[in-house]
Symmetry: C3
Amino acid sequence: MPRPLQLHPDRLLPADPTTRSIARALYQQVRALPIVSPHGHTDPAWFATNAPWTNPAELLLAPDHYLYRMLYSQGVPLEALGVSSKAGPSSADPRSSWRLFASHYYLFRGTPSRMWLDHVFAEVFGMDVALEPATADLFYDRLTEQLATPSFRPRALFERFGIELLATTEGPHEDLVHHAAIRSSGWSGRVVTTYRPDAVIDPEHEDFASALARFAELSGEDVHSWSGYLAAHRKRRADFRAAGATATDHGHPTARTANLSSLEAEALFGRIIGGSWTAEDADLFRAQMLTEMAAMSIEDGMVMQIHPGAFRNHNRTLHATHGRDKGADIPTRTDYVHALKPLLDRFGNETRLSIILFTLDETSYARELAPLAGHYPCLKLGPAWWFHDSPEGMRRFREMTTETAGFYNTVGFNDDTRAFLSIPARHDVARRVDCSFLARLVAEHRIEDWEAAELAHELTYGLVRRAYRLDAPRAEAA
Amino acid sequence: MPRPLQLHPDRLLPADPTTRSIARALYQQVRALPIVSPHGHTDPAWFATNAPWTNPAELLLAPDHYLYRMLYSQGVPLEALGVSSKAGPSSADPRSSWRLFASHYYLFRGTPSRMWLDHVFAEVFGMDVALEPATADLFYDRLTEQLATPSFRPRALFERFGIELLATTEGPHEDLVHHAAIRSSGWSGRVVTTYRPDAVIDPEHEDFASALARFAELSGEDVHSWSGYLAAHRKRRADFRAAGATATDHGHPTARTANLSSLEAEALFGRIIGGSWTAEDADLFRAQMLTEMAAMSIEDGMVMQIHPGAFRNHNRTLHATHGRDKGADIPTRTDYVHALKPLLDRFGNETRLSIILFTLDETSYARELAPLAGHYPCLKLGPAWWFHDSPEGMRRFREMTTETAGFYNTVGFNDDTRAFLSIPARHDVARRVDCSFLARLVAEHRIEDWEAAELAHELTYGLVRRAYRLDAPRAEAA
Amino acid sequence: MPRPLQLHPDRLLPADPTTRSIARALYQQVRALPIVSPHGHTDPAWFATNAPWTNPAELLLAPDHYLYRMLYSQGVPLEALGVSSKAGPSSADPRSSWRLFASHYYLFRGTPSRMWLDHVFAEVFGMDVALEPATADLFYDRLTEQLATPSFRPRALFERFGIELLATTEGPHEDLVHHAAIRSSGWSGRVVTTYRPDAVIDPEHEDFASALARFAELSGEDVHSWSGYLAAHRKRRADFRAAGATATDHGHPTARTANLSSLEAEALFGRIIGGSWTAEDADLFRAQMLTEMAAMSIEDGMVMQIHPGAFRNHNRTLHATHGRDKGADIPTRTDYVHALKPLLDRFGNETRLSIILFTLDETSYARELAPLAGHYPCLKLGPAWWFHDSPEGMRRFREMTTETAGFYNTVGFNDDTRAFLSIPARHDVARRVDCSFLARLVAEHRIEDWEAAELAHELTYGLVRRAYRLDAPRAEAA
């Protein structure tokens, strides 16, 4: 007999009956609010082509480094899970990969992946038994079958999920054909892009040269001169705004910023573009570009997101054989107080500028980020991110930021995912955890119940819309 | 209809009924104990002159960077809140500032400022409706009216608050006229000073030169020679002890200490006083002076407090326009293990020396501070400080220090405030949080109920009196 | 009337009734499981000679730096507690030391030492009154009396405690005579050794020269050549495996590793052995030796344990007068991401290699250790260690590692103690805290009850046996 799969209606709510009952009431008020997903990595081609997905291994497992990293840590080869390598796609049979996954599903006990997946299985696919070796084939068949039906196509799911807005992420070296196709298709789903210029800003990025070439092409600017390079950014930012973007995103090794004079910046750019740069030059250039991007954000109103602190591709061998984004990015200690100062010295008091800060280093929440966001007009705090996008991680985020930064210097939830089917699950977890935190404040008489209700709505829906300027007049492409 | 303002008698106590009932019983035993406030920044002139305060904007808002930093972070200009700048006092109408504050009061939901203020409104001023835009004028009028009455003068409130002792903070370059006036006035309130020599120790302090000149004047010593400079400290420390001081306080960028030979120290002082110092010289001098102060503490019995880790005046523009202490101090990572070693190498085993360590970096609680205080006879842990003087911050302090340092290497609560009216509120929060922590230990059968009762008394009243040597024979000025 | 001493059956379980009842049920299932103690510092001579212990001061107090560090921090001289110094054994009367301890026992309120000791008093010695000044003599007499009886000899207690395996720690410069004596005695208790080569790896260790000489002698190798030195390690590792060892242990100041070429390594060793090394050479040599040890572990299958981050002998004066391990080791910030990379670059993807990482820096749990262990096949997380081997410390460990690394990249509990009598108490605390954590997950519907039951068994018994390879064919000495 397989074990039943039932999502408990009170899951993630605190056990104490008083607090749970407050949390439950708050959750009821926000559970069905539309999903606003202002930061993520889904593939816009899905919504442009609306082509069906194939099977659960290729849809859920092979692209999700949250999942295969755990199995890899226990000795399961990536190839067997269908993960492609530099040599090409994996030759693993998808059903076999799925069975292998099912036989290791117990590894996820206590992790958010487990909660997200069970949500997907139960709510999206209507499964009522748990995934385990004995049910692996049942899951494989039932999911594959449903994925072939019209109601499981990307747009149908988008609508069923109640998504009001979904932001994807593209680089200035990428055209926005899928976004154009979505808009011209007449479909009403709001899928927007985000300007993520890392590949043309980071000289150490493996695609820097090719991205730069494509950047020149798409912008029509001479990206080899400092002024042309900046002009190219301005042009592409305008293109992105036309494709609905209201934000930029910057994934840097650290939060370092710089405030060079124009002359110094131009000289630095000369070394970068000439290929004669040192590691320090590269780092300084990334730092200076954050400040340049802030300057452009003041001009064009785009919100800046800074995502620092990941040591990318830590596993040298795996990077050599499998390339980027294979579950081997590891957080590092991240300083903000000194790192952001050059940018803040220049623009810190600008009320037109909005910078959303993220971290992988939770020690910075109470010590650095909350005090910074609780003072500087241009700074806000992004939600618990990546490894910390989890019940305990979100709880720590609230406990460590609220008392200094308040709720109103935060920006709601980001799912930050490429796992489209898990988006409702992730937002649901965030709503439950936020309502639980608010319920504790009410139960301990630290805020009133009506305030908690207002806050629950703000944390779910109000703050994200304002922080990402989603109500601002929306630029439309011709 | 305005919302009612009611302080719940069980506020801040845990929701679980068993634990709450234990916490409530503990709290009942300590709630009315006298307030001992051994570290703060109230103005002794208040108690010397006993002049009335004017209105809530000037009393509660304009001087309190906890409050205006939050509004500033949301784009409200400081001028509009009545905060003075280098150009002079703000020309804002106090009532308008107060209205502006009231309309942003929701920003403080979930922060300690909100709890403190509601306590002040309800308990000190007897307000029974919540502060919101619609009640802003009512608050302004009622508070202004009461402040004009005799029972709201500083000394009357001091007595009403049940303050047994209140320490202010002065520098060696300041005379102690207000303390003298208090003592000679015949008023029985015990207001003492604290020796805070930063301005004459930190060459990078903007007032260093002028403070040094005044230090020379007040001490009658040649502060330009190393021996004269040290003698001036000894003299002024004696003056402070005569004004009731039992402690010194040191607010340094880091916890760095040094243990130079006399010759090295003298040479370093020569560079400092000669004005030819480097940033490293300045840092080393501050470090060495902590050790010199420890040596003097062994002589004269004054307790040392070290408050490291704030990056002061982080907002360059605001510092230029508005000066120090405008809500732009940001905590930084702080090391103690290496930083304190030179001082500890010299005096660590001295049982006559007592150094109270504070931190803005909570990561040091369990990793560094509790192990240090749980070993060295001269070290004790100050309470959760500044950004961490909050329910969650205090809870983390207890959870992360108690298991290694115990309760008896801590020193009770510090309110560390210039907001005099909030002192009872702050002590009340600390008592509630400590009783809640103790209640959890009892509910989990980790300590006995009678031990918790003893500890609650110690954390509220016993430890602070012993740690700050308040029962020691008190020096009286002639 | 002395206070009663009663261990509450629900101690350490959460107060919320729902959660407590789940925790209690889980705990019932694991409380009586055998104790597997794969990492500790008990003296194998106890089990070899089975000689009786003498009195509680010499058994419980004088050797336990957890205890005397707390009294020392409050000004009690170590001599008075019976702690030996470099000048020789303390001349304190054991009964007087015990009385002094009893009169300071209140200092331990809220600490794990208090819980462990009360467990020892109640469960091992059957005491039913609390330790306090008035009962000090009663305790001294009752404990001394019992210690003289056969059922309190080391082997009898080992059996009574239900210990399935106990690992001690020895160096390659130590013979294993006690382990040989245990095995040849016919006693069935499984006491194994652990290979801890710090003294012959760390040039800054005070015993380096003498340890090296003895290492040469015991291995019969020329430890002054690089190849001989490595061969000596291989030989001694084999000797240790023959004495039951399945693991090595490495206590380094940092987690730094290196990946030098053979030529570079040999040159570095030349400087080390020639005595002409710098501090950086010493550090690099320790770093390189971790990688060499990993290489040998791949050959011989021994599990590696890395215990970094203690600043040893921080108290200079005490170290000079009393030597090592006197309660003056202080944790420091510890980086793993950069530090481990050289080793991981070489061996990170080796499924034959198993490295168990410990930390004294809790900030690394969620930020570095869980992400590393949740990816690399060779890495696992050791339990909350030393200062963090406490109810709050263990809870934080689970809360900060589980969501990213899962439970199955952890290895069960280590008591890491030389306090033999406290071993059951320490394992009991771990079982209670783990069951409480699991109970919260169940109460919040994050895992199912049957999963929690499986996990409780794994965390108590299954994981430790697999992680330390205790079921692998056991090498037996001739």
